[in-house]
């Protein structure tokens, strides 16, 4: 599997005095079994970019290639592509519409042309993945809690079994426990299936904890594309772009400045704890 953008440019209001480039030459290649974080300040082009990946928006210039084939060429089956590249929008629970949870999740696979039985099987699987129990199948999605609604909405996309799952700020507005539940599920699904997930988030802590590749967008371009610890070591640059790093990164830097031999590339509490304990015990440490 390979999803690739070749120098894509997207211009709003082309040919008028207000023309503005939302994407200005984006080259990204996505392969199997990746967990990618996409970060960038509001207006940096993230949402426009992900909408190119499943053909919702056509580039003004450049090409989007699915396994080497241009998805915007005339003979390309874009409906089938939506089964390969699944997009979960922000606040996806606003798009729930069916009378029961099960029907809502079955809608996608049915639209792909699957039979009743296959669609049902897919819906059951997807709901199990997001941790929605059988007892909720016949409930109206509108009677669920906020976190449950969002999980049902994500299941609706998972049921299409996409090779690439793109989520636009899936945890916005959820309480901390709800955030952990959703991200934990997504990370579990990614590991289990070996499919690729692209997570758009404004929470650097989430990105630092879960992903293994970070794309940073700024003014319609990808300005960094690397492992999280490499990206977050460029703290000053991120700051200038209206971004930040995980809180742990700042703490470890402060400790280093104060003279402790702390590992400044640590991104999680666990890594930080180990590094601090090690530094304190080492002969060169404060003890």
């Amino acid at each position: 599997m390979e999803l690739k953008t070749e120098n894509i440019i997207y211009e709003y209001d082309s040919g008028t005095g207000y023309a503005k480039r939302a994407l200005d030459g984006v080259n990204v290649t996505v392969r199997e079994n990746e967990f990618i974080g996409l970060i960038g300040h509001t207006g940096s082009g993230k949402s426009t970019f992900i909408q190119h990946l499943n053909g919702l928006v056509k580039p003004t210039e450049g090409r989007v290639l699915w396994n080497g084939r241009d998805i915007n060429s005339k003979d390309f089956d874009r409906r089938a592509l939506r089964g390969h590249v699944g997009l979960v929008f922000q606040y996806p629970e606003y798009q729930l519409f069916e009378t029961t949870v099960l029907k809502d999740v079955e809608f996608g696979p049915k639209n792909l042309g699957l039979s009743e039985e296959e669609a049902l099987e897919r819906a059951r699987e997807a709901l199990a993945m997001v941790g929605i129990e059988k007892e909720f199948y016949q409930v109206s999605p509108f009677n669920l809690s906020g976190g449950q609604k969002r999980r049902v909405a994500i299941a609706g996309v998972l049921a299409m079994k996409p090779d690439v799952l793109i989520l636009d700020e899936p945890t916005a507005g959820l309480d901390p426990k709800g955030r952990d539940e959703i991200l934990g599920r997504i990370a579990g699904i990614q590991k289990e299936t070996g499919n690729t997930v692209i997570l758009v988030s404004h929470s650097m802590d989430e990105i630092g904890e879960f992903v293994n590749r970070v794309l940073v967008m700024d003014e319609g371009r990808i300005v960094m594309d690397d492992e999280p610890r490499v990206v977050f070591s460029r703290l000053e640059e991120l700051d200038k772009k209206g971004l930040s790093a995980p809180q742990i990164t700042y703490i470890m830097r402060d400790l280093k400045k104060a003279g402790l031999d702390a590992d400044t590339s640590a991104l999680t509490v666990e890594e930080a704890k180990k590094s601090i304990l090690r530094a304190l015990k080492s002969p060169r440490g404060p003890y």
Partner: protein, 284 residues
């Protein structure tokens, strides 16, 4: 003096079944009491569905309690005569900035409120200017709010409230949709208004890092206030916060974990500086 005085308020949303018959109402607030003094910076935490937003709507008479009472600057919110005065005193800012914009030019947006209550034109422009300056958006006064970033829109929304000269601002998750830069700008503006102009701030958030600089924290669960104290006191109770579906700042968790591993650190460490100081003082 208390600018906000909520005493044992109860509120239930009526519910209907599929046939339209009234069923048992949903109790959103079940005896909430909260006193805020003028000039305080208060944060309210609580999981989704704990009653935070319902409570916030009681602070400017969008909702009135079924039982108990709410007084804003001495005015009873259940008395209709006070409603407009209460909304001038306690302004509200919501989560999604796009839902709160009514004009196509920033300065008109900010002037909309004062114009509505009949403030003389000259005075309106004065207020617009000072409100936009206070949130650092004066340079954008002739811009279209639709073309601003999320953080800039929220700052314009705050300016619109400021133009009403409120004593108190209530914000319901104002940073939930913002990027890190936008979040920081909004928080800086709130603390600045609180310190310099003495505006009372009631901030509802899910972001634990936004809590550390507030004077007091209230934690809600099932329509009640279950914890109430300084950020240090609240965040010392790590396990209890987690059981309420909440969290504590990463630096507090790290300190808590290090303590569990045997380092003699104090409870409720809230900032990186504090943690660094504590760790470096372990030198013999």
């Amino acid at each position: 003096m208390s600018i906000i005085s909520a005493k044992k308020i109860k509120y239930a949303y009526p519910r209907k079944d599929d046939e339209g018959n009234e069923t048992e109402p949903f109790v959103a607030l079940d005896g909430v009491s909260l006193e805020a003094n003028e000039g305080e910076f208060i944060t309210i935490l609580g999981h989704n569905g704990s009653g935070k937003s319902t409570f916030a709507k009681h602070l400017n008479a969008l909702l009135v309690p079924d039982e108990g009472s709410v007084f804003i600057d001495g005015m009873d919110t259940s008395e209709d005569d006070y409603t407009l005065k209460i909304r001038e005193t306690a302004g509200m800012v919501f989560q999604n900035p796009d839902n709160q914009m009514v004009s196509s030019v920033v300065d008109e947006e900010v002037g909309f409120g004062p114009e509505n209550i009949g403030v003389p034109t000259e005075e309106i422009w004065k207020r617009v200017e000072s409100a936009l300056n206070a949130v650092g958006m004066y340079a954008y006064k002739e811009s279209n709010p639709g073309r601003l970033s999320g953080g800039q829109k929220q700052r314009v929304a705050i300016a619109s409230v400021l133009a009403m000269n409120p004593k108190c601002i209530v914000l319901d998750e104002p940073t939930a949709m913002l990027d890190p830069g936008g979040r920081k700008d909004v928080l800086d503006v709130l603390h600045d208004l609180n310190k310099r102009n003495g505006v009372t701030v009631i901030l509802i958030t899910h972001n634990m890092e936004e809590v550390t600089a507030s004077d007091r924290v209230f934690v809600m669960d099932k329509g009640r206030v279950v914890m109430n104290g300084t950020p240090e006191e609240i965040f010392s109770r790590v396990e209890e916060m987690k059981s309420l579906r909440l969290d504590v700042p990463k630096v507090t968790i790290l300190a808590h974990e290090l303590k569990k591993s045997g380092l003699p650190l104090k409870d409720g460490i809230l900032t990186s500086e504090e943690l660094v100081r504590e760790i470096m003082s372990l030198r013999i």
